[in-house]
């Protein structure tokens, strides 16, 4: 079972998911971006932890699939929910903010699906499914 837990609840069903941690380290801004006509960068602090959940909602019919999507969207509250994110592996990330849910086509590297502009389409095969990317950010306090 590939269950992602956020705020104590499973939010993306039991379809397949992969976990992507965006690059860690320092955030640099080129001085040119700050209207300083010199080379170099300004170090402004550590990068926020960003965890992407890339997965696929899977259901036996379209109504159930849309219900799963609504559940995922319902957790996208305003103001955003800040809570613990638990990966399917059991790895935990505290104080994560659920910031976005996006329908997105993704698949096996090099497959015909890659880059075909099928972003956001519902796939209707044996099952009804939908690829997505959800982003969770540990927002740095000012």
């Amino acid at each position: 079972m590939s269950v992602v837990i956020f705020d104590g609840k499973s939010i993306f069903g039991s379809g397949p998911v992969r976990v992507v941690i965006e690059p860690r380290g320092a955030v640099l801004i080129p001085r040119l971006r700050l209207n300083q006509p010199v080379s170099g960068s300004v170090l402004i602090g550590p990068a926020e932890l960003v965890v992407q959940i890339r997965g696929r909602l899977v259901a036996s019919d379209e109504a159930t699939l849309r219900g799963l999507e609504q559940e995922a969207l319902a957790t996208l509250t305003n103001p955003p929910t800040v809570s613990r994110l638990v990966e399917p592996s059991g790895a935990q990330h505290d104080d994560m903010t659920y910031v976005s849910f996006e329908r997105r086509g993704w698949g096996v590297a090099g497959s015909a699906r890659d880059g075909l502009g099928e972003v956001g389409t519902i796939d209707r095969g044996r099952e009804v499914s939908l690829a997505f990317v959800a982003r969770f950010v540990r927002v740095n306090a000012l």
Binding site: S2, G15, P16, R56, E87, S111, R113, E118, G125, S129
Partner: protein, 131 residues
């Protein structure tokens, strides 16, 4: 599905002679094959985009000046029952677009290979109808 030397094959109502084989091929166009966090193997595979091709190979008997052309919509019908049109006989019906008309002139008797891309009425129902 493949029919060897089928009888009763028609294209747009025109009986086809010398049909050596009629095959219906189905393949995933853009398969979904997902892996999870558990290990290297796919945990979800599906075929949400499929291509169905009807391939008819037939001997060319005599000069033919017309025939199906690429891009043409055709109705392909074949009798499935070896017993002919008796009780229990079934028919295959496929409507589709001709993709290729190719000839093999190297054989003693030239052959024609016709490839038809099957078209579904609504995208959900199989374009191959057996009744």
């Amino acid at each position: 599905m493949i029919l060897i030397e089928p009888t009763g094959v028609t294209i747009d109502g025109v009986a086809q002679a010398g049909v050596l084989a009629l095959a219906v091929e189905e393949a995933a166009v853009a398969p979904v094959e997902e892996r999870g966090e558990g290990g290297p193997y796919a945990v979800f595979v599906d075929s949400p985009a499929r291509a169905v091709r009807v391939i008819i190979k037939q001997e060319v008997i005599g000069t033919t000046l017309d025939g199906p052309r690429s891009g043409q919509m055709v109705d392909v019908v074949a009798r499935l029952s070896a017993a002919g049109a008796g009780a229990g006989a079934k028919s295959l019906f496929v409507r589709g677009c001709v993709l290729e008309v190719r000839y093999d002139l190297s054989a003693k008797v030239p052959t024609r290979r016709l490839t038809v891309a099957a078209v579904s009425d609504d995208g959900a129902e199989s374009p191959v109808n057996v009744t």
